[in-house]
Amino acid sequence: MFDPINAIAQWLAALLASLGLSSGLVNLILTLVGVLAIASFVLIVDIFLVWVERKVVARFQDRLGPNRLGPFGLIQPLADIIKLLIKEDITPLGADKVVYNLAPILALATVLMLWAVIPFAPTMLGADLNVGVLYIVAVGAIGTLGIIMAGWASNNKYALLGAMRTVALTIAYEVPMVVALLVPVILGRSMSIHQIVNSQTIWYIVAAPLAAAIFLISAIAELGRAPFDLAEAESEIVAGFHIEYTGMKFGLFYAGELLHALTMGALFASFFMGGWRGPFAEQAPILGVFYLFLKAMFIYWVIMWVKYSLPRVRIDHMLNFNWKLLTPLALAVVMFTALTDKALIELGVAAGSLTYSLAMLALNLLIGWITLSLLRSYARIERQRVAAPRPVASPEYSGVAKS
């Protein structure tokens, strides 16, 4: 079994124990090292996300993107960081200094915290919480607090408007997200993400494509990315909540946003695409990390694809889409998944088997088809209403003779 990370951990534990430290202290030091390893690994990935983002955007817009510094422009993000570090740091007059400085820290820190419960490989996971899903939802929502703090403390009207829009977005899309996450919990019989990944011999995207789609849409909304980027609509409120931030403080917001997108990708991969699962991942756990990041990057790319393909939606359309389509759909999916699950178990079909997954897939397709036909009939009624002849004041009907 090729498992370098745990081998290093055991070696370190033996080394510390030989120095005569008590077992509790050794435990604490090992935890500290583990936390630092995960956090710095994620932050280093984050630096190169800047490069990925710029390069992919360039390709979507038929440009080359950064290609001067190093091979394929790979050193470009480091140059960006140096530039951000030596920029003057401006705090506007009248800003609430403490909150103003705390907001960017919180924006990146909350995203970082999410990585504590994501399993990287069968033997490599920070914490296997038995309430992992709730932890994700709870900590993920704190990120919004950072944005509100930034908007309020900046003492700028644009920033305040941007922050208020973010709140509207979050309170709308949190509900379908939380409800959609019930489906992998039902399928995996656990709230621990490690357990959910373990039970995915067949990816849950097969058994629950609708829940996956709802989760992805609400994740994009929670990220505040286009088409849901109302919080930073340039044509309306300039830059939104981070309008007054300069230098590294803006950099932290930017890094937090990029990392949040990758985190959502990793969460989507863990919940619906088997996380670290892949060929030989059980034998060589280091491969699991590779598979997880491969899947997370794929979802990240899908999120970017959506971002650069769709125009921004209006706020009332967005709220309608959420409350009148996504929320009822998510609730229906949960109800029917629970019922079908119970029925299949009663019939003697084992949870997670191929028959089980295919039956769930059929159920999802049925619900999807019903939703689409409901939408189609609604669209037909709406089209007729718009196209209906309206009374027009014309000389022929107004009673005035033409002559």
Partner: protein
């Protein structure tokens, strides 16, 4: 095992803000600091700001916020139900679904009342 996991979470929660905060300390050492009154003005398209921005204004979506609160709390109740799906008899599953249906009825009522209308 459980104690170990929560120790990890605790250390992570303490350390996660420290790393970004450390990144904010570097500009304090290397970046120039030459503030003046005009530079520190609040940005508003080049026009001088009129009045305070910390004012009371109508938050149009407070009803949405109330509905959100109800839904979020009730979904938390659904999580234990979803986890225990294996042990639950059919009756309990149906009961959970009735609970969701009451939620849906609330949403429908709000919809009919025109609450879900952005004004």
């Amino acid at each position: 095992m459980q104690y170990q996991d929560w120790l990890f979470i605790g250390v992570f929660l303490v350390l996660a803000p420290v790393l970004p905060a450390a990144a904010l300390l570097i500009p304090r050492l290397v970046a120039p600091r030459k503030p003046n009154r005009v530079k520190l003005q609040t940005y508003e398209c080049g026009v001088e700001t009129i009045g305070d921005s910390w004012v009371q204004f109508r938050v149009q979506y407070y009803i949405f916020a109330l509905i959100f609160l109800i839904f979020d709390i009730e979904t938390v109740f659904l999580y234990p139900w979803a986890v225990a799906m294996d042990q639950l008899p059919l009756f309990a599953v149906v009961e959970g679904i009735l609970f969701i249906l009451i939620l849906v009825a609330g949403l429908m009522w709000a919809w009919r009342k025109g609450v879900l209308q952005w004004s």
